[in-house]
C-alpha cells in the first residue's frame, strides 16, 4: 500500500478557505482605501476604486476576472422580495450555480464559507475545553425547509430576509466596510456550537447550506469507497463535517459513493481513513438523495 499522505485534503481546504477569507481585502488595499469603513475622505477629484481591480466585491456579489457573480440564494430572495426576475444581475448567479452544480453544491460550504472555517475552529476549541454537546439536535435536512421558509418569508415581508442577519458575509463586510449586520447571528452560532449541539449551524440550520444541499444532488464529484479496503472502524463518521449518517450506505456496502447532496466534499473522511478505503473522484450522480 502506498504511503498515505496525511491530511492532504484538509491542508488544501485550509489554504482555499484562508484565500477566500482575505480575497476581497486585496482590491480595497490596492486602491489605498482603509478597512472598516474608516478613513473615508471627501475628494474633489475621482480616486482609484477597488472596482478597478481584477477582482472585487464581497461574498454576496463580486467581480472576478471579467465575470460578475451573485450569491444565488440572495438572487432567489430578491426575486421573492421584489416579485421580479427583471434584474440584469440575476444572470450573475448562473456561473455560481453551474460551478458548484458541476462539482457539488456544498463544496461552497466546505471550501469557501468563512462561517464553516469559524465553526471548525469553535469545534476544535470546544474539544479543548472538554464541553460535551448533543450530537444531533436538529435533523440535517431541516436546513432545506429553512431555506424554503426564508424565501417564503422574503416574499411576505418584501425584504430579502436572510440578508438582514446573514453571518456568511458578516465578517467580510464588517472588516471591509465597517458594517455589522449579521454579527449577532455569528455570536448565536458560536454559542450554539459551544454549548448546545455539534456543528448544528452548518449541519442543520443554514439556509444557504440548504440551497446548496439541493444543488448537491447533481454534482459530478463524490466521496467513493473501496469496500475491500474498509474495516468499518468508524473513523470517517467521527470526522465527518456534515452528518455522519451520510456515510451509512457506503459503509454498509449499499452504495459505492456518498450519494447525499449534503456532502460538502471536505475530504475529512478521506484524510482520516487509516486504510485509504475512501477517495474523492468523479462519479455520475445516479440515485441522488438530499
Amino acid at each position: 500500500m502506498a504511503k498515505k499522505r496525511k491530511g492532504r485534503w484538509t491542508i488544501a481546504r485550509r489554504v482555499v478557505q484562508i484565500v477566500v477569507a482575505i480575497l476581497f481585502f486585496v482590491p480595497l488595499s490596492a486602491a489605498g482605501w482603509s478597512a472598516l469603513g474608516l478613513g473615508f475622505s471627501s475628494p474633489e477629484e475621482p480616486l482609484a476604486t477597488p472596482s478597478g481591480f481584477a477582482w472585487w466585491g464581497s461574498l454576496s456579489s463580486s467581480h472576478l476576472f471579467g465575470l460578475d457573480l451573485l450569491d444565488p440564494f440572495a438572487a432567489l430572495q430578491v426575486t421573492a422580495a421584489a416579485k421580479s426576475v427583471a434584474f440584469a444581475g440575476l444572470a450573475w448567479a448562473l456561473p455560481v450555480l453551474v460551478a458548484y452544480g458541476m462539482v457539488r453544491g456544498r463544496a461552497f460550504c466546505g471550501w469557501a464559507c468563512p462561517v464553516n472555517l469559524l465553526c471548525e475552529f469553535v469545534d476544535w476549541l470546544r474539544g479543548k475545553l472538554g464541553i460535551a454537546v448533543r450530537e444531533r439536535a436538529v435533523p440535517r435536512k431541516a436546513k432545506v425547509g429553512i431555506a424554503a421558509a426564508v424565501l417564503a418569508l422574503s416574499a411576505v415581508c418584501s425584504v430579502p430576509v436572510f440578508e438582514l442577519v446573514n453571518p456568511i458575509s458578516a465578517v467580510n463586510k464588517a472588516v471591509l466596510f465597517g458594517s455589522f449586520a449579521g454579527v449577532f447571528t455569528l455570536a448565536a452560532i458560536v454559542f450554539a456550537e459551544l454549548f448546545w449541539a455539534h456543528r448544528v449551524w452548518c449541519r442543520a440550520l443554514c439556509p444557504l447550506g440548504g440551497m446548496y444541499e439541493t444543488l448537491g444532488c447533481v454534482g459530478l464529484v463524490s466521496v467513493k469507497i473501496d469496500h475491500d479496503l474498509c474495516v468499518h472502524c468508524g473513523a470517517c463518521q467521527a470526522a465527518c463535517l456534515c452528518d455522519p449518517e451520510i456515510l451509512d450506505d457506503v459503509l454498509s456496502g449499499k452504495a459505492g459513493r456518498v450519494v447525499a447532496g449534503d456532502c460538502m466534499l471536505c475530504g475529512k473522511c478521506v484524510d482520516v481513513c487509516p486504510y485509504s478505503a475512501l477517495k474523492i473522484g468523479f462519479a455520475l450522480p445516479r440515485h441522488p438523495e438530499l
Binding site: G37, S58, A74, A88, F177
Partner: protein, 215 residues
C-alpha cells in the same frame, strides 16, 4: 441546568434578539445612491453587498453603520460629508447586481430627492449675497434659480433668494455639502420624497422671514 440546555437558550436568545433589532428601524430618512426608487423597493432589492460603495470614485457612498437595524450595511450618502457627483457613467448603478439602483439614462433623470431650503437659516433670504448653493448646483439655473425681490423695509436693496425647482432637482446634495451655514444646522437639506419636499417648500415660502436690517 445542563450545558446543552443553557447553550440552546443562550443561542436562541442571542438569535431572537439579533433578528428583532435587525428588523427594527426603517431607512425612510436616508439619502440613497442614484437609481434607488422608494425605500420599499430599495429594501426589497438591496443585499448589502457593498459593490456600489467600492465603485464610487468620490467615496460618497458609505455603509449605514450602527450594530443594528434593517438599514445596517445598506449604502447611504451623507451629503454634508460628500455629495454625489453624478458621474456620467454611474459606476454605482452598473455595479449593483439586483437593481436596487435602477439604471438611469441621463444625469437629469436621477431622483435621489429634492433640496429644501430652511428660509429662517438661509443668509440669502436675510439679505446677504451668498448664492453658494446656486453656484454649486450641477443644474444651475434649472434646479436652482435666483429670485430677486425688494428687501422688506428697504427701498434701495434687493434680496436674491435661491429657489428650488422640484421638477429639476435630482437630490445630489452638492448644495448641502457647500452651504455656508452650519449653526444650528445646515440651511438646506435633501428630502427624499418629492411630494413631501414640495409641501415643505410651499410651507417655507409662506413663512415670513423678518429682515434683520429693516428699520
Amino acid at each position: 441546568m445542563e450545558t446543552t440546555t443553557f447553550g440552546a437558550i443562550a443561542a436562541a436568545g442571542v438569535a431572537a434578539g439579533g433578528i428583532a433589532v435587525c428588523f427594527a428601524g426603517n431607512g425612510e430618512g436616508l439619502l440613497r445612491p442614484p437609481g434607488a426608487a422608494d425605500e420599499a423597493d430599495f429594501r426589497a432589492r438591496c443585499i448589502k453587498c457593498g459593490r456600489c460603495l467600492e465603485a464610487c470614485p468620490y467615496q460618497a457612498i458609505r455603509m449605514a453603520k450602527g450594530p443594528t437595524g434593517a438599514e445596517t450595511g445598506t449604502p447611504v450618502i451623507d451629503a454634508r460629508a460628500q455629495a454625489c457627483r453624478l458621474c456620467a457613467d454611474f459606476p454605482c448603478i452598473a455595479a449593483c447586481p439586483t437593481e436596487a439602483l435602477h439604471p438611469v439614462s441621463a444625469r437629469d433623470e436621477v431622483r435621489m430627492g429634492c433640496a429644501v431650503i430652511n428660509r429662517d437659516l438661509c443668509i440669502a433670504v436675510q439679505g446677504m449675497r451668498c448664492e453658494v448653493c446656486y453656484r454649486a448646483c450641477p443644474f444651475i439655473d434649472s434646479a436652482i434659480a435666483i429670485g430677486a425681490s425688494v428687501r422688506e423695509g428697504d427701498a434701495i436693496h434687493a434680496v436674491f433668494e435661491p429657489l428650488i425647482d422640484p421638477e429639476k432637482c435630482v437630490g445630489c446634495g452638492l448644495c448641502v455639502q457647500r452651504c455656508v451655514v452650519s449653526d444650528p444646522q445646515v440651511a438646506i437639506e435633501i428630502v427624499r420624497d418629492y411630494g413631501e419636499a414640495r409641501r415643505r417648500i410651499d410651507e417655507e415660502q409662506a413663512k415670513h422671514v423678518s429682515n434683520p436690517w429693516a428699520g
